[in-house]
């Protein structure tokens, strides 16, 4: 089995564009959650975490003409992918037959929900019909750069991007490819803002993950991609790996369509699986970037699972960076993977903002200080999706 390394990454979120902006926000405890600026909705009072650029600004950043058919999810994806490819030395030494795997649920829905009536009554916006699909979105992102041997689109709700990472890693480990560019992208839409609102899991205030008074999540948007390679390919191309992708695990909670089981069964199993693949013990983990949405259900369930895996009195530092980026749904797996890698490379623990009260049933409290307890060598990140789709990934310093 091939070792899988990360040779590049790129990100765009409410914290800004690129790794430096993201790192700065995390270190300065500056969240991206606030009032909506770009999404036109009746629910403008709900705190969200929008990418701080309009579509016009992002088109301009990419040199895409005004009249072109563009969707917000693809614009964000293209920007993040560009940074990832650049950092992996794509243009200095192009890899052979790379694969692109992207996760999204919304695709081009930001436009289709606006033009739905036009679709039904006239032909002025028909180009956007084809832009709606998840697959079309992946194609738009990949085609901006070109050169991919295979494209694949994953759609497993909030674990999509994490599963893209897992799938890419599997393909490299088994020799099906030597380079896999993986991640996800998702923009805010009225459709899912209203949907989450009707499930009554949105907080009217900035979210407070792992706090006893937490009342829900804040929706966010963004994109992030990682360049995964076999250690051999990285060496051949002369690129220095950022870190190792030590292991991943995906399991099913098999409990309810949207709620997590009280014992956190799926989360427990996915973390154990990732540890097993990485050949690590729970005590090896130096920091956990939790899924930590801030809903009463998730944090209880995930917290319970963490205690079951790591032991009541030996839980490593845990934080949810959704207190910075909001819940970026299908992109959260890769956005949080990039944040975890930043933590690893710069040796700090991203804090869990807005925490005040310890949860009654958990033995641990989340991290509120950037200074790690010990140097970070292994970092674990969780992403759980509706449908009980639970994924954990472990990144290791090399």
């Amino acid at each position: 089995m091939q070792r899988v390394v990360v040779t590049g990454c790129g990100i765009i979120s409410a914290l800004g564009q690129g790794l430096p902006a993201t790192l700065d926000a995390l270190m300065s405890h500056r969240p991206g959650i606030g009032p909506l600026r770009y999404l036109a909705t009746a629910h403008s009072h709900l705190p969200c975490a929008e990418v701080p650029f309009s579509n016009a600004q992002m088109r301009s950043m990419l040199g895409i003409p005004e009249g072109a058919v563009t969707i917000r999810t693809a614009l964000m994806g293209i920007i993040a992918l560009g940074e990832a490819l650049e950092s992996a030395g794509w243009n200095t030494c192009r890899p052979e037959r790379p694969v692109f795997i992207s996760g999204t649920t919304v695709g081009g829905m930001d436009k289709s929900e606006r033009f739905y009536n036009d679709f039904l009554t006239n032909n002025s916006r028909n180009d956007y019909i084809r832009a709606h699909d998840c697959g079309s979105c992946t194609q738009m992102i990949a085609d901006y750069y070109g050169g991919f041997d295979m494209l694949s689109t994953l759609s497993t709700a909030c674990s999509s991007a994490a599963n893209a990472i897992l799938t890419g890693a599997d393909m490299i480990r088994t020799g099906r490819t030597s380079v896999a560019v993986v991640g996800g992208s998702e923009c805010l839409t009225r459709f899912h803002l209203n949907g989450f609102n009707t499930l009554m899991i949105l907080d009217k205030e900035p979210c407070r993950p792992f706090d006893d008074t937490r009342a829900g999540l804040n929706l966010g948007e963004g994109a992030a991609y990682l360049v995964l390679e076999s250690a051999e390919s990285a060496q051949k191309r002369g690129v220095k790996p950022l870190c190792l992708l030590a292991g991943c695990g995906n399991t099913c909670d098999a409990y309810h369509q949207t709620a997590s089981s009280p014992t956190g069964e799926g989360a427990f199993l996915s973390m154990k699986k990732a540890l097993a693949e990485a050949g690590l013990l729970p005590s090896d983990i130096d920091y956990i970037n939790a899924h930590g949405t801030g809903t009463p259900n998730n944090d209880e369930s995930e917290g319970t699972a963490i205690i079951r895996v790591f032991g009541e009195n030996s839980v490593p530092p845990v934080s949810s960076t959704k207190s910075f980026t909001g819940h970026t749904t299908s992109a959260s797996g890769s956005i949080e993977a990039v944040i975890s890698i930043l933590a690893l490379l710069h040796n700090f623990t991203p804090v869990n903002l807005n925490f005040k009260e310890k949860m009654a049933n958990l033995s641990f409290t989340p991290v509120t200080d950037n200074k790690p307890l010990r140097p970070l060598k292994h970092v674990l990140t969780n992403s759980f999706g509706f449908g009980g789709n639970d994924t954990s990934c472990i990144f290791t310093k090399i």
């Binding site: 009707t198 499930l199 009554m200 309810h256 369509q257 949207t258 709620a259």
Partner: protein
Amino acid sequence: MEELILELKKQIIEALNLEEITPDDIDTNAPLFVEGLGLDSIDALELIVLMEKNYGIKLTDPGKSKEIFKSVATMAEYIQANRTK
């Protein structure tokens, strides 16, 4: 009140896709959640939508709603007292 209770049972069956159940099958005073019809958290949310759509009652606290949704009888009482439609 009897009319409201029957109407409510029919609406619950439709809103929650309880296809194999008729109004006669629903005991007015039996618990709706856990036992009885065994409804779950998503069903509770649908009932909140039902209250607003059919009776103009806005419920914003899922926790408080537990008391109102205890049984068809408690729902009907609450509707009678608070309906705006």
